[in-house]
Symmetry: C2
Subunit: 249 residues, 2 copies
DNA sequence: CGTCAGATTGATATTCATCAAGATCGGTGG
DNA sequence: CCACCGATCTTGATGAATATCAATCTGACG
């Protein structure tokens, strides 16, 4: 099972990258993370990584691709409440909440690792500081959600979209996936509409308006930000909420 | 300082009520909570309980009144991203995030207790299960935020408002503050607009539409839900996300 | 009685969702 | 190689939803 072995290395590195953006991780802690047992799974666009109303006994770590939390409404519409990138735990909160109140779906092809809760508890108890870092991860998620509420509620479509792109670029860059503010984002405009809480047509036109500013390039599935600072200024983007500062937690 | 002694009792009870809705709290744990030292403070509408960009070394527990997380945009508009009720810790996440990326303001007259982080760490270490319950509290906050994103992004104003009222009623009821789905909510329509992400006029008209359904009564600052199930049905409200089930966490 | 904050109302302009129709593109099978 | 197909993107037209502006009304209170 060399493939599984590779996956394991990838998973450990992805998780460590995430944590090390925010705090120092000791050698002993790194070894504990490396000792996690996990299983791996590949998903096609639209498939559930975690299903609503399930009671997971393992938590899911994204290794590649983009996934999103999906809330479905009775009128058939849907809202994506979070986008997860490689290195993110998508349902660590289920460790405490027990019952999933939403699904996590693949927005693109995706690859993920599942870690048994018992394993997470084991290494948390061996290193309480790791436990704090897992908590941190759910709390950063919350901070991002607050930023999204403000975006949907009060920002103009152009600024909302710009804000999202700044956020994704910074998060991806932190784990080494967006060098020079350029990254791959193979998402449909229709999916984007469910992220931004707009209609498909509105997304299309907003995207054109954003292109016309000349601040970004979005060809095919590749986004390139030409002038990050100007885009951040335009979109009123302040990265504080991402908590990408490395400090003792 | 009998007044402070009373406040202390109120704070301990409020916090325990919150926790006991979600999990069993042992006698030893209750005593640990009761051993917390804290200071108390009263706020008038609009005052900050916790300020943006501060680095709190204590966390703030609401004892009475309503408070909200406030995000201010550069264009002068504002979005409230959460409403906190008595028994809620409003900035427990600052224990890990360190730097506040938003303020917490009093939406009404409010009374709050501040607990030093060192104290929270002390009782967390004495009882790891309490630590999990603190984590739980931040994670429930996140679940509520997800529901809000879906509401702002995809629900019609009438349903959004109905959903909010259902949520508040259930949360208040859980801590004994909304008997028979009736509670006091002394908030301004303008504040409500910043909660719902609508304009003031829109709020006013939506409120009238909701009154016309006959499902609720909102006179002065008192909301009475006449038919909770019907309101929940109308608003597509599913309380799962509030995690008000008592189970081992 | 005057004042003020908040609630309500009507009129208007703007934004946005929706509907419907192409255009584009990549892949597939003949 | 080409015709075709489905998915996605793009565009224009239309009406509904919503923000904004500007009064007016109401009730609490000095």
């Amino acid at each position: 099972m060399n493939e599984t072995r590779d996956d394991h290395v990838i998973a450990v590195e992805a998780l460590l990258r995430y944590l090390q953006c925010r705090d120092r991780v000791s050698t002993a802690e790194r070894e504990l993370v490396a000792s996690l047992t996990m299983r791996f799974k590949t998903f096609r666009r639209g498939e559930d990584l975690v299903s609503e109303n399930s009671r997971p006994n393992e938590s899911c770590l994204v290794l590649s691709g983009f996934t999103g939390r999906e809330v479905l409404l009775k009128d058939g519409s849907r809202q994506i409440t979070a986008i997860h990138i490689p290195g993110d735990f998508v349902d660590l909160h289920a460790l405490l909440l027990k019952l999933m109140d939403h699904s996590v779906v693949a927005l693109t092809e995706a690859h993920a690792a599942y870690v048994p809760h018992a394993e997470l508890v084991r290494i948390s108890e061996a290193a309480p500081h790791l436990s704090r870092l897992f908590w941190l991860s759910t709390v950063v998620d919350g901070a991002i959600q607050r930023a999204w509420i403000a975006c949907i509620g009060r920002r103009k479509p152009l600024h909302h979209l710009g804000h999202l792109i700044c956020e994704l670029s910074m998060r991806l860059n932190a784990v080494g996936l967006a060098p020079r503010h350029s990254f791959d984002f193979p998402i449909t405009q229709s999916q984007l509409a469910d992220v931004l809480g707009m209609s498909l047509v509105q997304v299309n036109r907003t995207l054109q308006a954003l292109r016309r500013t000349g601040l970004i390039d979005w060809k095919g599935s590749t986004i390139t930000i030409h002038d990050f600072d100007a885009l951040a200024e335009l979109s009123d983007f302040d990265p504080t909420y991402l908590n990408l500062m490395n400090e003792p937690r």
